[in-house]
């Protein structure tokens, strides 16, 4: 009843409003053009994604056709015999990214905890900004800095004692075997960890701030310490978004190119040692692409690896975005 009444009122009101809004024919024409432009731009983004996937897949098709699915698990990379397999770079990509996450997450959690609960109010903004500036430093700078500073440091101070201490233990030792060159998978992961640290930390900080103050105050009210409030209230409340933030960091680490290329050693050999050299999809593409002939099977294999990397990072980033949905971040 009341609905039909209000409907009647609306109908009556409409003629009054209409002439004002559609004051001229040209403005409705302008609206159509502007809306069309906006929608075209939106569709362009979808087309862009489709074009990236398609161009990598088409470029990699000769390689996929020649090697089939075994491309993903064979470790050959032999331009002379035209035999190519992606196992080593795929392994390197996954291992460096996961190792980087393992190192970055505790640090990022500590930073987020410090910035939301421990730091004095006036101190939070400058420290938060400084941490975020770590994300602004270009990848090439991390690479150069890693190559000239971290690699010698690892070769001199970190790897020899670890190799001496752990290298002879039967199973674990395999992880720490080999000569201490300073480069290698572990060094690459360390630099990646520093690079993704600000992404994870600032996501965590932002989601920690979404916890309603009432929850935390109730916990403080029954006598919880700051850490207990963090562990029992803040972390359970935000765990989905925290995982989303970690996935975001993982997605970033998977595709990092320049920093890794400088320090990973660039060898296409499957190494069980964390200090051994290796490569990642991004680093092998950056290094080998300029040396590949147009139309060669090698070029196609690199594009195929690019396709694999795109699929992996797309899945990881899509998961991250879904987990972060409620509290989206710029």
């Amino acid at each position: 009843m009341s609905q039909s009444l209000s409907g009647g009122e609306l109908k009556q009101a409409r003629p009054l409003v209409r002439p004002l809004v559609r004051s001229s024919r040209s403005s409705s024409w302008g609206d159509a053009v502007f809306a069309g432009l906006a929608k075209t731009a939106g569709l362009l983004v979808l087309v862009l994604l489709g074009a990236i996937i398609a161009s990598l897949f088409i470029g990699g098709w000769p390689s996929f056709r020649a090697f089939g699915l075994s491309f993903l698990v064979t470790a050959d990379w032999d331009p002379v015999q035209d035999m190519f397999g992606g196992a080593v770079p795929i392994y390197g990509t996954l291992v460096t990214a996961v190792l980087a996450i393992v190192m970055a997450v505790p640090l990022a959690f500590g930073i987020a905890f410090y910035l939301t609960e421990l730091a004095p109010g006036w101190f939070r903004r400058p420290v938060g900004t400084a941490i975020e500036l770590l994300a602004a430093v270009p990848s090439i700078i991390y690479g150069m800095w890693g190559f000239y500073m971290i690699v010698p440091f690892m070769a001199e101070w970190v790897q020899p004692p670890l190799i001496d201490a752990l290298g002879d233990i039967p199973v674990l030792g395999a992880l720490f075997a080999g000569p201490p060159f300073g480069t290698g998978i572990f060094t690459a992961a360390l630099i990646l960890a520093v690079m993704i640290l600000p992404f994870i930390a600032s996501t965590m900080r932002d989601v920690f701030l979404t916890v309603p103050a009432v929850f935390k105050e109730s916990a403080y009210g029954v006598g919880c310490t700051t850490w207990e409030v963090m562990r029992s209230i803040v972390v359970p409340y935000t765990r989905v978004s925290v995982v989303g933030g970690i996935m975001l960091g993982l997605g970033r680490a998977l595709g990092e190119t320049m920093a890794v290329t400088f320090v990973i050693g660039n060898t296409n050999r499957l190494s069980t040692s964390l200090f051994g050299p290796g490569n990642t999809i991004a680093s092998i593409v950056a290094l080998e692409f300029p040396e590949s002939q147009a139309g060669s099977l090698k070029l196609s294999s690199l594009l195929a690896l690019g396709f694999v990397l795109f699929v992996i990072s797309f899945v990881v980033l899509a998961c991250s975005r879904m987990l972060l949905q409620p509290g989206r971040k710029a």
């Binding site: 930073i111 800095w145 700051t226 975001l248």
Partner: protein, 295 residues
Amino acid sequence: MSGVVSAMTGPRRDPAVADRLSRRRRRMNRLVKGLCTGATLVGLVFLGLILGTLLWLGFGGLHWSVFTEATKPPGSHGGLLNAIVGSLIQTLIGTAVGTPVGIMVGTYLSEYAAGTRLGDAVRFVSDVLLSAPSILIGLFVYQVLVSPFGAFSGIAGGLALAVIVVPIVVRTTEDMLRLIPVELREAAVALGAPKWKSIVLVCYPAARDGIATGVLLAVARIAGETAPLLFTSLGNLNWSISLTRPMSSLPVTIYQYAGSAFEDWVQLAWVGALLITLGVLALNIVARVLLRPRR
């Protein structure tokens, strides 16, 4: 005293036990607090180490010739002029192409597609592209623009950077437009303005600072990008500002020089690294200051 209480009420009420527990909890609390403060220090130390290294090794090589001379063969005191100019040109192309597209997409998401499936899809894809590996964007542009025309070119580099700009601008534009109060739009509509005019003449000016922040952050990001330029503009050790030929850029020149065996090239790479880092960090700080009064 405590023994008596314990006998009467059991261990849960025993002050000694309670005291121990409380002391353990407080110790744990102090330990975690200390570790977290330490983690923050580690983060800051890394930033300090990077900046310190750049200043230490880059500042010494900073002469006027860096800005007045093009890159030259090792041993002949070259500069970085062509790299700096090339970076400026490609960053300009990337920003000029990417910004309007990004603003239109952001407008579409905020003003036209709120709650629609297509809008959700566009937002999702844009967010994924925001973090997509930039080297793959280089491969994509190589496949589409370099390989068919058979030449590496500055314009291909610029367009690769534009692909990176779009999602950054989309994100900030949409967020900023959503912050605009509904009353402002209603006021425009009540005056008889069509929707596009209310967006262009009312919403854009109101969101100006936020959108500018997004553009600045995008410029800061692409100014330091190396990977997407490797297969598009390639780099060029000679002076060239032709858009259809390989073009030099600071990051690619740093990449070529840093790995070389010539001392003066490595020195120039450090100078380039210092310049680019200071530029990028300055842009970031300006962007933050610009956004501050709005939040």
